[in-house]
């Protein structure tokens, strides 16, 4: 049904991209102020009302829109114009496969709270992420500036290197959930994990008083190392601090977007923030159970509340609760990224590369090997 797809796409653009992205700039300002012992983001006002600094994103956009758009002499005008668009587009369309709710049936109609739900959902995100490299390369090359070019080269080398780790660090998760479909992954996490279940693998039986010791069956409990590596690789792909060597202002002025001004610069800036939301969405979908409420699966909610309030009402409530849960996890992951961004200093470029090729890559391969061995032991 095209109407449904159009509504979902509009939802993503209006709520996620246009709604959440400006608020993230506010979260970032407040987080930095908190960590540097300032009050922060409280000056922009309309008639003296500042609303906790929430007007700053509006002031940002107005300022960026009214700035002069400078194209340097000798630049390749067309590529200079296209680069910010190519940087921003992948970040926006990656959100298409992230489920912000489960599958619900109201009588005959079934509603799926995801814009597109292909079998290869996670691969789609990787593919889109690999296209994002071109924004930085084109910007660096088209600006006709040596510092920009160096920034573009650094960005492309860094993003290509971390793509390898990015893919390998979630192979363990593919093996555990036996799927690449993001909606199925969340379904598999909407249950509980028996902490002492491993006793049965060795032929014993779990005593009844230990059987209730459970964890939510989230990816992070199956693959803690995978979680850390995936988050690191995703953050490195996004080129925000501490992985912002491509724009390192102390040596490259501003790297690949040095020659950009006005809203074109704004697009690079926005695409990084949208990418933060995408990272938060992907990580909370694969590792933190997505929309799943811990210890309270969908059938329990609908069965429990539906018995005295009617099934339709219970399902409706379930939709709202799941969406709120997903948003909560999203905000927590965004906050974690902001915390890391303002805690860690920028890595030196060789440190970035060493971390990838000598640290994360061998670890992720070891992770696959161990996961495979354990899976063989547990599932036979």
């Amino acid at each position: 049904m095209p109407i449904e797809e159009i509504c979902k796409t509009l939802f993503i653009i209006l709520v996620i991209v246009a709604g959440l992205a400006p608020i993230i700039t506010w979260i970032e300002r407040k987080q930095s102020a908190l960590m540097q012992d300032r009050i922060g983001a409280n000056r922009a006002d309309i008639g003296g009302i500042t609303v906790l600094g929430l007007l700053h994103p509006m002031a940002d956009v107005l300022k960026l829109m009214t700035k002069e758009d400078v194209v340097p002499q000798g630049a390749n005008r067309m590529m200079h114009m296209l680069a910010p668009l190519i940087a921003a587009l992948p970040a926006i369309i990656a959100f298409g496969v992230i489920p912000w709710g489960g599958t619900y049936s109201f009588g005959d109609t079934t509603i799926k709270m995801v814009a597109a739900d292909p079998d290869w959902g996670l691969l789609y995100i990787f593919a889109i992420g690999s296209i994002a490299t071109y924004g930085a390369i084109m910007a660096g090359w088209a600006s006709n500036n040596n510092w920009s070019l160096l920034g573009g080269l650094r960005a492309s080398a860094q993003m290509i290197s971390y793509e390898v780790t990015l893919g390998l660090s979630v192979v363990g998760i593919f093996m555990v959930f036996e799927t690449l479909k993001l909606t199925d992954m969340v379904m598999a996490q909407d249950t509980t994990l028996r902490v002492f279940g491993f006793i049965e693998v060795f032929g014993g039986t779990v005593p009844a008083f230990l059987d209730w010791v459970r964890l939510p069956a989230w990816g992070i409990f199956y693959q803690p190392l995978g979680f850390v590596m995936f988050l690191t690789a995703m953050m490195a792909e996004n080129k925000r601090p501490p992985f912002d060597a491509p724009e390192g202002e102390s040596e490259l002025i501003a790297g690949y977007f040095l020659e950009y001004s006005g809203m074109r610069f704004g697009l690079f800036y926005m695409s990084e923030f949208i990418e933060v939301i995408v990272i938060a969405g992907v990580v909370s979908t694969i590792f933190l159970g997505g929309w799943a409420i811990p210890f309270l699966d969908q059938a329990t909610i609908i069965g429990g509340i539906g018995s005295f309030m009617g099934e339709g009402f219970a399902t409706g409530l379930c939709v709202i609760l799941h969406f709120m849960t997903f948003m909560l996890k999203l905000i927590v992951m965004i906050w974690l990224q902001m915390l890391l961004r303002w805690t860690l200093p920028r890595f030196r470029y060789d440190q970035v590369m060493n971390l990838c090729w000598k640290g994360l890559l061998p670890l992720s391969i070891a992770n696959i090997l161990i996961t495979g061995a354990v899976m063989l032991l547990v599932r036979g």
């Binding site: 590529m79 789609y124 690999s130 071109y134 492309s156 793509e163």
Partner: protein, 167 residues
């Protein structure tokens, strides 16, 4: 016309135009390799229309996302100028390319000449990662291992060449 047919023509035209853009942009190597990226993406879209989803994703991830980025990386490091392309004797290259073009055209006419074949109905899950993975690790496992050995030797060779300059 069906939606998939319209989409096919859009992406086919896109692939051909960007391929031409790549060939005709010999003097601007960066623009040429960016045209190559557009060709790759258009081909991936055509694979999606053929329900070969995994191949489509791999096409974007490996060719568009990694190999052409490395091309660009090398081109930018070399920092070629237009006068680096001296108008030398390129008639042999042009002759070879023309011969190859005629050969491909004849093959294409041979295929299309008797009329297009019926479009087969694909089974459930065709072209998915599951089916491909099972095939790769059962029937074709020897070939996969041989390919991995080849890649390993390439990596070791590159390392030796790079190391010689450092030591």
């Amino acid at each position: 016309m069906e939606v998939s047919a319209i989409l096919f023509y859009i992406f086919a035209v896109m692939a051909v135009v960007s391929a031409l853009g790549m060939v005709l942009n010999v003097r601007n190597t960066v623009a040429a390799s960016l045209s190559l990226v557009v060709t790759m993406i258009a081909l991936a879209a055509i694979y999606v229309l053929l329900e070969a989803y995994l191949i489509a994703v791999i096409q974007i991830m490996v060719y568009a996302g990694a190999i052409v980025v490395l091309f660009l990386f090398v081109i930018m490091l070399l920092n070629l100028r237009e006068d680096d392309f001296a108008p030398g004797r390129q008639w042999l290259v042009k002759f070879g390319a023309g011969l190859l073009g005629v050969f491909v055209l004849i093959q294409l006419l041979k295929l299309v000449g008797p009329g297009l074949p019926e479009v087969p109905v694909v089974p459930e899950g065709y072209g998915g990662y599951r089916q491909l993975g099972i095939l790769l690790y059962t029937d074709y496992v020897l070939l996969v291992e041989m390919a991995s050995l080849l890649l390993l030797s390439a990596i070791v060779g590159a390392l030796i060449l790079a190391k010689r300059n450092i030591d």
